[in-house]
Symmetry: C2
Subunit: 462 residues, 2 copies
């Protein structure tokens, strides 16, 4: 009776998930945390014990949840938006990711964790939660403000670097090394894969969806889009990348089609169903006792996330030429981890290279930082006022001078048509070059100066 077990599990997952999310919405907490708590409740570690019988099938469905989550992220991403990301967002995202990646590795070393656990922790901490931020800013009615636009730009860069990170982590986990040659080879192969899929996809997919859309059948469009989504995810998996990577890329390609709004509306309920299963499946992995045992790392990591992200993002946005208030608002919006971190954590579980305590810690940190996010956003203005009042006058003046100076550089090109056009044409290529160069330089640096925590691995890159 395989089917009855499965149906029972699915019914339990959906009913408990539904109940807990209602409670969480009433408490104005994000639904994602509700799903995870639901998973803990029906999981094997908490009474009443035997609520889920066929964990393998639930995990298979939760893999579909990862694919559909990343596909939706890709749908919202859109290659065109990339060209509108400004220098401040790029600076802030790069600073945030490097600082938090380093902080994660250092914290792991502090608690004596293995290399892989530390590396995955670093990757998890470097990503913020698009879901939480969009929900919070939406509820506060701040979606249209300038700092919100900066935050969305930062999240887009995070998505790209997160995708590169997932590819690198898969490579590290499989070869066990992080040498210069490996990083280069992995990124080179990734670049070729992305280039081929993007070019082929942008040539074929818009024509395909336009053709299918002519039949005016939602059913055909859903099946076609799901076929594309699962097909490219499978292709990525077969080539040694994660399904998350493939799903994101095909999502970004589908985002370029004319039918994107119809497709988004059709995919949303399917994503909601499977992402609920994914988050509940995370809860199934969590033993609440782990949270008590690991309270120290949880507190330290939470502190590192909040302080690190606020500092890195505020500084990056400010360096890009924004005033103190906007910079602090943007920085304080990004101080949490969420679904992308869970996807990275589940990659570690799938590849069997991370320890069991990483997931509960990530969930606890995500819960704490999510809870603090609305207070941080609301506190940004108070903090700015206090800073402007209490900081020494010369410092405030210098900061304002810098903001004005960078703003002037950015404004000079206006009115010059040739330069404007050149800027538009060159923007995407330049941005891509900067991104790739940054990752390469970082890889080269790490390869040439392996930090102590890498000494456990064979470094055959040089």
């Amino acid at each position: 009776m395989h089917t009855i077990t499965f149906l029972q599990d699915l019914a339990v997952v959906m009913i408990i998930a539904g109940l807990v999310t209602v409670v969480f919405r009433r408490l104005k907490q994000p639904v994602v945390l509700g799903y995870i708590i639901a998973g803990v409740i029906i999981g094997p570690h908490t009474p009443p014990y035997p609520l889920i019988h066929d964990e393998a099938t639930i995990n298979t469905l939760s893999e579909l949840g990862v694919i559909l989550l990343m596909f939706s992220l890709g749908l919202e991403f859109s290659l065109r938006k990339l060209t509108s990301v400004g220098v401040p967002a790029l600076l802030a995202a790069l600073m945030e990711i490097f600082l938090l990646f380093w902080a994660g590795i250092e914290v792991g070393r502090l608690f004596g964790w293995g290399t892989m656990d530390s590396v995955f922790l670093g990757a998890m901490l470097s990503m913020s939660s698009t879901t939480v931020i969009i929900k919070m800013l939406g509820e506060m009615g701040k979606m249209k403000e300038r700092f919100a636009q900066l935050v969305f730009g930062i999240l887009i860069i995070e998505d790209i670097l997160g995708i590169a990170m997932i590819a690198l982590l898969s490579g590290i986990a499989m070869t066990g090394t992080l040498g210069f040659v490996e990083v280069g080879r992995t990124l080179g192969r990734l670049g070729i894969f992305l280039a081929v899929v993007l070019v082929a996809g942008l040539l074929v997919v818009p024509r395909l969806t336009a053709y299918v859309a002519r039949f005016k059948s939602n059913e055909m469009l859903v099946i076609t889009v799901l076929g594309l989504c699962f097909g490219v995810s499978l292709l990525a998996m077969k080539l040694g990348y994660s399904v998350a990577l493939g799903a994101f890329v095909i999502g970004a390609i589908v985002a370029e089609t004319r039918e994107i709004h119809r497709i988004e509306a059709l995919i949303e309920p399917i994503r909601d169903m499977f992402s609920a299963v994914f988050f509940v499946a995370i809860g199934l992995l969590i033993d609440p006792k782990m949270l008590v045992v690991h309270w120290q790392p949880i507190l330290v990591i939470t502190l590192a996330v909040v302080v690190g992200k606020v500092l890195a993002c505020t500084f990056g946005v400010f360096m890009g030429g924004n005033d103190t208030r906007t910079s602090l608002r943007a920085g304080m919006s990004l101080a949490q981890i969420g679904e992308f971190s869970f996807i990275i954590a589940s990659l570690g579980v799938t590849l069997k290279v991370t320890s069991g305590f990483l997931f509960p810690i990530a969930v606890a940190v995500s819960a704490l930082t999510t809870l603090s996010t609305p207070y941080l956003i609301r506190g940004a203005d108070t903090l700015t006022d206090a800073f402007l009042r209490m900081a020494p006058r010369p410092l405030v003046n210098t900061l304002e001078l810098y903001t004005g100076w960078v703003g002037q550089i950015g404004g000079q090109g206006a009115g010059n048509l040739a330069r404007t056009l050149l800027w538009k044409w060159g923007a995407q290529m330049a941005l891509n070059a900067v991104l790739i160069a940054a990752v390469f330089i970082a890889g080269a640096y790490v390869g040439a100066h392996p930090p102590a925590w890498l000494s456990g691995l064979g470094l055959d890159g040089h």
Copy 2:
């Protein structure tokens, strides 16, 4: 690597399903047949052979397809619509179901099939295809005509009797008997189950969905509705009914909520995804060689479906007081079998009481009768004209006299307020009483006069 196998199967299913449906839409054939052909192509019986690896998981997902198909059928059903079904539709549906059930059993006996195969064949033939009819009438722009309203009424009665039939078939398959006491007990238990679920559901579900809808989150509504759907399906299964029954009932309850239109839009893509898997899974079961071996039953059954349904429905609608043209149009629209028959066939497979040849035959008959449906609908007017021209004058006059006489009876109550109100209040109860009485009388008759084909079973009912 369970997950990679599963993802590969799902990707193959969606891609092939997408391709074949495009071809079928271009050929103006229903998408359902396209899915089944896709299943045959990727199935184990046709080259290239090894396209599906994990049939068990595909079958589990196809079970979700059955649940969501029946749930959608319930959503479109709505208890309120039941009160607007007229006497002609009721008469036609009862005649159709009894005639075709009998015809199916006789055909099974003719070819020397086992009792269970014959009984399931009878049940399969008695149902028409809502999907095919709605699609065909929609494409022809005939949805608003009087005969179309009659056809939809007949389909609603078919749904109810089909649900009762599924419960009876499960009972027969498990006890192996069809005595008076068994039928009575099964229908009695079914009645109690339906009454309890309906009363509890109508009290709780509208309040629940209204409460959840207040949060204005599609995600929460999807999860809540899926929880209800899977939960009640599971409850039905635990009590010994099929999941199809439970899904239909909870669908009919959800149809009474204020949020029905939002819910329908949200559930549609999920249903499309899983029903595609369900129909493809049917294709997986089919060995094309079976079609060649069983060409005789396929032809005979196709003929029985077309002739039997046209005769029974035309006669029933005419008896209810419609003119010859309307009656023939309605009768000729209903002459096919489809998804409900596949659900009954898969019930037989799940209960392991039917033979392997039943599915391919049902699919072939469904294909042939679906292909003939548009020609029959278009041919109805030609046939009526020919009949009115060639039939003896006295017969035509008698028919018109009858139509006028029944119409007069129906019209007498108009203007009398008390009678109109009484009619409205009493309509649903009377209709239900007629339905239940009809099934009971039929059961009693079969129990008292067991036909020869029942002699193989132990009849301990008297």
